[in-house]
């Protein structure tokens, strides 16, 4: 049982807080000879696997529709910088030259940049609204829980429009209580901080500390019980 991350989104869809509690490392390193038996391509300033899947290296499930393949993280033990090697050469060009082989490449899921996190938060903000507009029932809220096979996203929107979002393992229980606990921590340690201005990113040490301990308790116990 594990809680992956926490997002706090303000009522305009801006990300005001993000914390990664647990980031699983799914990485694979392999030595390749010429020519490469994977198809790589540029995507979002990264080099990702667009076709071919082997030895823990993941390609796209649906080619070109959802670019979720693993990205190149390092070449011969040296971390890459975006779509260039450490020396500033384009990775795809580098891998085209047979003289550079054998080459050892490390692949893994690309970490989200803070820009991407902002984008995903505002994306969820609109998905939340559409989910409520397309409701076949009267008086529906937005998306409260979104389920995939590897994680569940739980969202709690307060009356004032702030959204608390928790990503957790699908089997993790007690997330509703955790979301309300985070709201309580937010009201106590962020809102009452005289240096905090509303709707702005939260940079309060006490908020961080209390949030972390709440997550720890939630992970251990699975739930808080009604009162706490």
């Amino acid at each position: 049982m594990v809680i992956f991350s926490v997002y706090v989104v303000n009522k305009a869809g801006g990300l005001i807080y993000q914390y990664d509690n647990y980031v699983p490392r799914a990485e694979a390193e392999k030595t390749f000879s010429y020519p490469l038996d994977l198809v790589l391509k540029h995507h979002d300033e990264k080099v990702v696997v667009s076709f071919g899947q082997r030895d823990g290296i993941r390609g796209n499930k649906f080619c070109c529709r959802s670019p979720v393949g693993h990205a190149v993280l390092s070449i011969n033990g040296v971390d890459v910088i975006g779509k260039n090697t450490a020396e500033g050469k384009d990775i795809l060009e580098y891998l085209k030259e047979s003289s550079n082989y054998p080459v050892s490449i490390r692949f893994g899921r690309a970490r989200l940049s803070s820009n991407e996190k902002l984008m995903l938060a505002s994306m969820f903000h609109s998905l939340f609204a559409i989910g409520s507009q397309l409701s076949p029932e009267v008086g529906s809220s937005g998306i409260e829980m979104l389920e995939t096979d590897v994680f569940k996203l739980h969202c709690f929107q307060t009356l004032t429009g702030i959204k608390f979002i928790v990503l957790a393992d699908p089997r993790q229980s007690g997330i509703d209580a955790l979301l309300r606990k985070i709201y309580e921590i937010y009201s106590d340690f962020a809102l009452k901080n005289p240096f905090y201005s509303l709707e702005m990113p939260i940079r309060c040490e006490l908020f961080d500390q209390n949030l972390k301990s709440a997550l720890e308790i939630a992970e251990k116990a699975g739930n808080f019980g009604a009162g706490s």
Binding site: R58, L112, L120, L146
Partner: protein, 145 residues
């Protein structure tokens, strides 16, 4: 316990089929607009989920729920998308959607040479079989809703 409505989209985002059974609220826009909005939402959710996921996924997006309804999603490798809205008591409709695909769509649309793939499904046989199938579901009962 009830089934609200069902959408079938092809891989290009065309709405091939729509039917509703117990729908209390309309979206307030034309049906064409609603299909586009629904497909856009699903498309964004797919991309959102694949970026957000901390691990590699197999099935990807399965369902979401709000305070009033649950949306079940099933996508075939060929890109056909089945979307069914039910109330919250239906926890898993994956087998149902898979059944609609393999026993109704494939049987009455793919195997029907007159049905042009990629256009809205106007086969009466398909509609009636699908309607009968949905009405026979254990969680279909408009009275309780």
């Amino acid at each position: 316990m009830t089934v609200h409505n069902l959408y079938i989209f092809d891989r290009n985002g065309n709405c091939l089929y729509y039917n509703e059974w117990n729908r209390k609220k309309q979206a307030g826009i034309s049906k064409e607009e609603e299909y586009k909005l629904m497909y856009g939402m699903l498309f964004s959710i797919r991309s959102f989920v694949s970026k957000m996921s901390p691990l590699d996924m197999k099935e990807g997006f399965l369902s979401f729920q709000t305070s009033k309804y649950r949306l079940h999603y099933y996508e075939t490798p060929s890109g056909l998308k089945f979307v069914m809205n039910t109330d919250l008591s239906v926890s898993n409709a994956r087998d149902t959607l898979q059944h609609i695909y393999s026993n109704l769509y494939v049987e009455y649309i793919v195997k029907n040479p007159v049905c042009v793939l990629g256009h809205s499904l106007d086969s009466e046989l398909f509609s009636s079989r699908l309607d009968a199938f949905i009405r026979a579901l254990p969680f279909y009962s408009p009275r309780a809703a």
